[in-house]
């Protein structure tokens, strides 16, 4: 009995101690626990402009080039210049920009695009983003050395660091002083919802709510050219079948007065898709192309990084086994200079996708 009472007392004491540890002085006892240092280290990967959070390490331009060609070039181009998949990374900056910290071409409205290196003011942003989100289909797979190396190579493509440069946590602050658009940002605007920057929410336009005879005769200054009439698909199929307004049939030229409106509602049809058995197989195969990130490089009807599914289906009709092999092993030279890496999907999935391609890549 005595022993029993002692045990109960001990348990109660333990329980109290445990509660105290979990609750602290919280208004919401029992909710949440302390994160372990290991957990924080696993997720706290951000790097700030003052390089807080940057892990020690280094990587060379040369090493970066190897990584680039294997993991980055197929989307961004050999020189970071490609606009095929994403906006170009490299281009539009000069030696003078590196000196001034302002990219001169940003004031030239005839210059076609804005590359990443033209815009990014902070080298930490490049390091952080490559580390957290690249490569596109396998984010967070690069080692710290590879991230330094790829960052160095990218900067080298922009002429910001020399060919023999080794970027490290020791010299990255010096590199920051060469970023071509480092002085190109302003926080003098009224659109930050805090007090830290800008003009305290003060807007930059000042319209007045005039009600009568406000402007002279309105003139139409911009509208879509006729050739673009159906470029977004038939607008009749993008509006509800009933309502005050129906969608315009953009597969036909614009009607004379009255003609477009004369079309009765009964004639318009919803763009419903019927799914039959073949359709279900097609859908399953397409789902696999999505799941295995094939669609990052291949689109249904248009060339992306690789050929379209439709083009593959045309070229290799009926050759399911060949295609299954190619999907698994990868290849190069068949469709152009950019190689397709070997793919780590299951045999069964490769076969399903190959069968779908060989039978015409239907929807």
């Amino acid at each position: 009995m005595f022993r029993f009472r002692k045990a109960v007392l001990a348990a109660a004491l333990l329980a109290v101690a445990g509660l105290a540890g979990a609750q602290g002085t919280s208004k919401w006892p029992g909710v949440g626990r302390d994160a372990t240092p290991k957990e924080v280290a696993a997720w706290d990967i951000d790097v700030r402009p003052d390089f807080k959070g940057l892990p020690a390490g280094s990587g060379s331009v040369a090493k970066g080039q190897d990584v680039w060609e294997g993991k980055c070039a197929h989307c961004h181009g050999i020189f970071g210049e490609s606009g095929e998949v994403f906006s170009p990374l490299v281009g539009g900056i000069t030696k003078e920009d590196i000196k001034t910290g302002r990219v001169a071409k940003l004031t030239d409205s005839s210059f076609p695009g804005r590359t990443t290196l033209m815009k990014v003011p902070t080298v930490s942003t490049l390091w952080d983003y490559i580390n957290r989100a690249m490569p596109w289909t396998a984010p967070k797979s690069l080692s710290t050395e590879e991230v330094y190396a790829v960052t160095a190579f990218l900067l080298n493509l922009g002429g910001i660091v020399p060919d023999n440069f080794v970027l490290s946590d020791k010299n990255i602050a010096e590199v920051q002083q060469r970023m071509p658009n480092r002085n190109g940002m302003t926080t003098e605007h009224g659109m930050w919802p805090g007090k830290e920057f800008g003009k305290g929410h003060k807007p930059d336009t000042k319209n007045v709510a005039c009600m009568k005879d406000c402007v002279p005769e309105a003139k139409v200054s911009s509208f879509l050219p006729d050739y673009a009439r159906n470029a977004h698909g038939n607008l009749a199929e993008q509006n509800r079948l009933v309502g005050a307004q129906h969608g315009a049939d953009t597969t036909r030229p614009e009607g004379k007065p009255g003609a477009a409106a004369a079309q009765p509602a009964a004639q318009a049809k919803p763009a419903a898709v019927k799914a039959d058995a073949a359709g279900a197989d097609n859908k399953a195969a397409q789902a696999l192309t999505q799941k295995n990130s094939c669609t990052a490089c291949h689109a249904m009807n248009s060339k992306l990084v690789g050929p379209s599914f439709q083009d593959i289906a045309k070229k290799h009709a009926g050759k399911a086994d060949y295609l299954a092999g190619k999907i698994k092993a990868g290849g190069s030279g068949v469709w152009g200079p950019i190689p397709m890496p070997a793919q780590a999907l299951s045999e069964a999935e490769a076969k399903t996708i190959a069968a779908w391609l060989a039978s015409g890549a239907g929807k």
């Binding site: 930059d204 005879d213 005769e217 005050a244």
Partner: protein, 454 residues
């Protein structure tokens, strides 16, 4: 389906959606009088010139003395309908609503994983966007994450770094609030010229939901955050892009920012960040981090990729505005709108949406003559803070060309600007934060076109 529809003649946004040839065509047509056709048509009608005869009556009495839809009883009046839970336990819209979809803009992006689909504003009522029609914006594809394995971490300038499970977050006191979310790049393709035909593509990156979740200040207090020196919070997602954005502590301290798991009465949709998303009312969508996994309290801003490369607004000086976040007051008429056809002359309800990232919508005025004269529209209440607000205005269309515009004002007194005013300050290459007044030209044929006026 989209692939078939793409002509390939309209190219990549955002800077100029029309390609060089397209712009040339516009200029050539203008020279050769094509533009004058539209311009003159409007001017002539406005001047009270002759107009064509009345359009066909939309609902005429049939010659046989009655409408067969009335005279011949339909199947659904004569038979037995379907049973409960017939569609797998989760109801779907009518099959006749198949046209009402979110859609991609052809040629806008090269991948579907870093892309956007636009909400069909022309077909929506009220202020709540059905969750399945909510616009989508993904940076590296969407995921359907097992909520039992999802964790939220809070670290940085806190007394103790914390980890929460979804079970724990859902135990805390919750709020339910209706807010709009708008992508900073909504209407981006229209900065320089008209580029897309319908309100779905011009304004469809805005949606509005009732969100349910826990005020972020509660979680920060739980971790013992330094609310004095910790002036910024970094929000980070759990997906491949691990999206990060800097949020000002002032806004969090106001109690407006919350972490949401609920949307319109159910859990968030996977495309909207299931199971946890940050809600930052009034601020552009990119800050509403999806699949929210971590919040770090710090004393400096973070210059994340989407604060230093994208979501920065180029000004004519060559400087980019950084940390531009608030979505300023904006409105758009959703019907009649581009790509629609008015069926007949006569009465119409002009309806649309207004919103402001700085507070409540105070007033919306509507013009049918290209901005010369305005009438104040009715606001459907209750008007809520940083939420879509529905406006309506009676209108009798006389069959003449009309240019319809809406102009919103918020409770700070700010009035939505014209294109001329906006471009005078920001030029045409800003990409983000285009809140200019939208114009729709109703032609004599009844067909409505997206236009800009000078």
């Amino acid at each position: 389906m989209q692939e078939d529809l793409s002509s390939g003649r309209i190219r990549k946004a955002p800077e100029n959606f029309l390609n060089k040839d397209g712009i040339k065509t516009v200029l050539t047509e203008a020279k050769h009088g094509r533009r004058d056709f539209i311009r003159n048509a409007f001017a002539a009608a406005a001047a009270g010139a002759a107009v064509p005869a009345a359009l066909a009556q939309g609902n005429p009495v049939p010659t046989e003395g009655g409408d067969p839809n009335i005279l011949n009883l339909p199947e659904h009046s004569k038979g037995l309908g379907q049973g409960v839970a017939a569609d797998g336990g989760y109801g779907k819209p009518s099959k006749f609503e198949a046209n009402v979809q979110r859609r991609q803009s052809p040629g806008l992006t090269q991948t579907t994983q870093a892309s956007v689909s636009f909400a069909p504003l022309q077909s929506l009522f009220g202020i709540i966007t059905p969750s399945g029609l909510h616009f989508e914006r993904h940076h590296q594809g969407w995921w359907d994450i097992d909520p039992s394995k999802h964790r939220l971490m809070i670290n940085g300038m806190v007394e103790s770094n914390k980890v929460f499970t979804m079970d724990e977050i859902m135990r805390l006191p919750s709020v339910s609030r209706i807010h709009f979310i708008e992508c900073g790049a909504n209407t981006a393709v229209e900065w320089g010229n008209v580029a897309v035909p319908t309100v779905q593509y011009t304004h469809g990156m805005v949606s509005c939901s009732e969100f349910t979740g826990v005020p972020l200040i509660t979680l920060l207090e739980l971790a013992g955050a330094d609310l004095k020196n910790g002036k910024f919070v970094l929000a980070e997602g759990a997906d491949g892009s691990s999206m990060t954005r800097t949020i000002p502590m002032d806004l969090i301290k106001s109690g407006e920012v919350f972490v949401a798991y609920g949307q319109n009465g159910e859990m968030l949709r996977p495309e909207q960040g299931y199971p946890l998303r940050l809600i930052v009312p009034g601020v552009q969508g990119v800050s509403w981090v999806k699949y929210l996994r971590r919040l770090e309290v710090g004393d400096k801003p973070y210059a994340a990729k989407d604060e230093a490369v994208h979501y920065v607004d180029l000004q004519p000086s060559g400087l980019h505005r950084q940390y531009s976040s608030i979505q300023e007051c904006k409105s758009v008429v959703t019907t009649p709108s581009g790509g629609q056809v008015l069926l007949d002359k006569g009465f119409y309800n002009i309806t649309g949406l207004a919103w402001s990232g700085r507070g409540k919508v105070k007033r919306v005025d509507v013009s049918v003559d290209g901005g010369r004269n305005w009438r104040t529209a009715r606001l459907e209440g209750p008007v809520q803070n940083k939420a879509l607000t529905r406006f309506n205005l009676d209108w009798v269309w006389d069959g003449k060309p009309a240019i319809i515009q809406s102009r919103a004002m918020d409770d700070t007194g700010y009035v939505q600007p014209t294109y001329k005013q906006l471009r005078a300050v920001r030029g045409t290459r800003s990409i983000y934060h285009n809140n200019a007044i939208q114009s729709w030209l109703v032609q004599e044929s009844g067909e409505v076109k997206n236009v800009q006026v000078s």
